[in-house]
Every structure is written in structure tokens, then in C-alpha cells.
């Protein structure tokens, strides 16, 4: 067994020994992944996992380093990038991935990605043309 494998075992025992907690957070993340375009909130997520919302919040943050809401936002933005690359309009993309208003979507997108959705789309389309040439 290598040093790395020994360390993996040690860390597994130290951080990942609670199977029930792991099952809960993985199920919640999977739910978000498959329902990111819907209204997903902590009350609902805690109900489907039969746990309190504060406990769920704490667990999710412990295992993923972010809250379910933060994860949902990142997931939606990643999906938005895909649709913008495919040429979908900014407004259509906004609603399609579950954001409520184009203005909040654009502000959030710019804060997290560094470009406004329209500038991101222009850049992507330009790069795609360049790659084809």
C-alpha cells in the first residue's frame, strides 16, 4: 500500500465514516442536479430527506463546502453557459435554468463568470468560429 492509499484510509475514517449523512447530502445534491430549473429551497429539500433544514444546511456545507443555495446557483450558471454557447438568448436562458429575472441573472452571471451573459456568448461564438477556420 502506498503512502497515498494509507492517507486515503485515514481521511476516510476521519471525515467520511457517517454513511447516513453522506447518503443524505449526496441525495440532496443529486436532487438539485436533476431539478435545478425548478424552485428548490431548503424547506423542500429538508422535507424530502426527513431532516431539519438547519441540520441539512450544516451537513451540506460540511461535505461540499457550500450551502445548497450556493450549489444551486453555481449549477444554474454552469447550465446557463451551455445554453448561451448554443446560441440561446439571454432572457430565454435565464428562465430556462431557473432564474427569476434577466437583470438579477445578468448581475449574478457577471459577478461569478466575469463577463455579462451577452459578452460571454459573443466571446464563445467568436472562439467557435475561430476554431472552425
Amino acid at each position: 500500500m502506498t503512502f497515498y492509499e494509507t492517507e486515503m484510509e485515514r481521511i476516510r475514517k476521519l471525515c467520511y465514516s457517517n454513511d447516513k449523512q453522506l447518503e443524505t447530502v449526496i441525495a440532496v445534491r443529486n436532487y438539485i442536479d436533476h431539478n435545478f430549473e425548478k424552485e428548490v429551497n431548503l424547506d423542500f429539500l429538508s422535507q424530502i430527506r426527513f431532516t431539519s433544514k438547519y441540520h441539512l444546511l450544516r451537513l451540506f456545507k460540511k461535505y461540499y463546502g457550500q450551502t445548497p443555495k450556493q450549489y444551486l446557483t453555481i449549477r444554474r450558471l454552469e447550465e446557463a453557459k451551455k445554453y448561451l454557447k448554443q446560441g440561446m438568448s439571454v432572457t430565454e436562458t435565464c428562465y430556462y435554468v431557473g432564474f427569476e429575472t434577466p437583470s438579477s441573472f445578468s448581475t449574478l452571471f457577471k459577478n461569478k463568470i466575469g463577463l455579462s451573459p451577452i459578452d460571454f456568448q459573443k466571446k464563445q461564438l467568436l472562439q467557435s468560429h475561430t476554431q472552425k477556420e
Binding site: 503512502f3 471525515c15 461535505y63
Partner: protein, 128 residues
């Protein structure tokens, strides 16, 4: 943005990272004495992160020492995210890639570690 990976042989590294891992070559500029500025990128995101396949172990002894120490301890030099570790593992095994850690669940991730034939262990990772 880029990430550097020290490689013992740039020809072999280019072959491995393109034909086995699926990256595409981005920059390949001769720097004299057999060294090259050599980068590859993900096929799907060619304007994304560049992986610099750097010949440092052959030019800077401490780099060689560090690389060897990590390799001998089984520690990955870096990691790549994949959609599905098991599928990627099976695909790479079919291409004769050797794994030191088979697909293994570690809490909220699944990982596997393979030999890049250029002096490094590389980890693939899937979020669960």
C-alpha cells in the same frame, strides 16, 4: 490560465495526453536543446485551462526529486474532473493505462489514480 505538469519526455507526454486522455495540442514552440513550450487543452474547451507539459525534471534537479518523491508515494501530481470515473477508468484500461488506485468512493467524491508514463500519478475525480 494554466496548470503545469512536469514530464520526463515531452514527445511521450504529448502522445499520452492527446491519444489516451483526449486533450488537443494548443502550443508547441521549440525552446532549444530539445525543450518545447508545449501545452494541451480539453477538446471541448479549447479556450479554457491550458495544461503545460513542462520538461522541468530534465533541466532542474529539485523538480526531478520532487516529482519522483510524489510518484513513489503514490501521490497524484494533479487531478482532472470527469463526468464518470468508472467509465473513464474502463476506457483508459482498454488503452493500456495502468491504475494504482481503482475507482474508489471517498465520501462525496469518487476517485481513481493512473500512471501518465511521464513520471506522474494523475487522479481523476467525480463529484457524487
Amino acid at each position: 490560465m494554466g496548470v503545469g505538469i512536469p514530464v520526463l519526455n515531452q514527445d511521450r507526454a504529448l502522445n499520452f495526453y492527446t491519444t489516451k486522455l483526449g486533450f488537443v495540442k494548443k502550443h508547441d514552440v521549440p525552446l532549444g536543446e530539445g525543450n518545447r513550450w508545449l501545452t494541451v487543452v480539453a477538446k471541448e474547451e479549447q479556450e479554457g485551462v491550458e495544461v503545460l507539459l513542462e520538461p522541468s525534471p530534465n533541466n532542474f534537479e529539485p523538480a526531478k526529486t520532487f516529482q519522483k518523491a510524489l510518484k513513489d508515494a503514490g501521490i497524484p501530481y494533479t487531478q482532472f474532473s470527469v463526468e464518470n470515473v468508472q467509465e473513464e477508468y474502463e476506457r483508459l484500461v482498454d488503452l493500456d493505462v495502468v491504475f494504482s488506485v481503482k475507482p474508489t468512493v471517498m465520501g462525496t467524491v469518487k476517485i481513481a489514480v493512473f500512471d501518465d508514463t511521464c513520471g506522474n500519478n494523475i487522479q481523476i475525480l467525480e463529484m457524487l
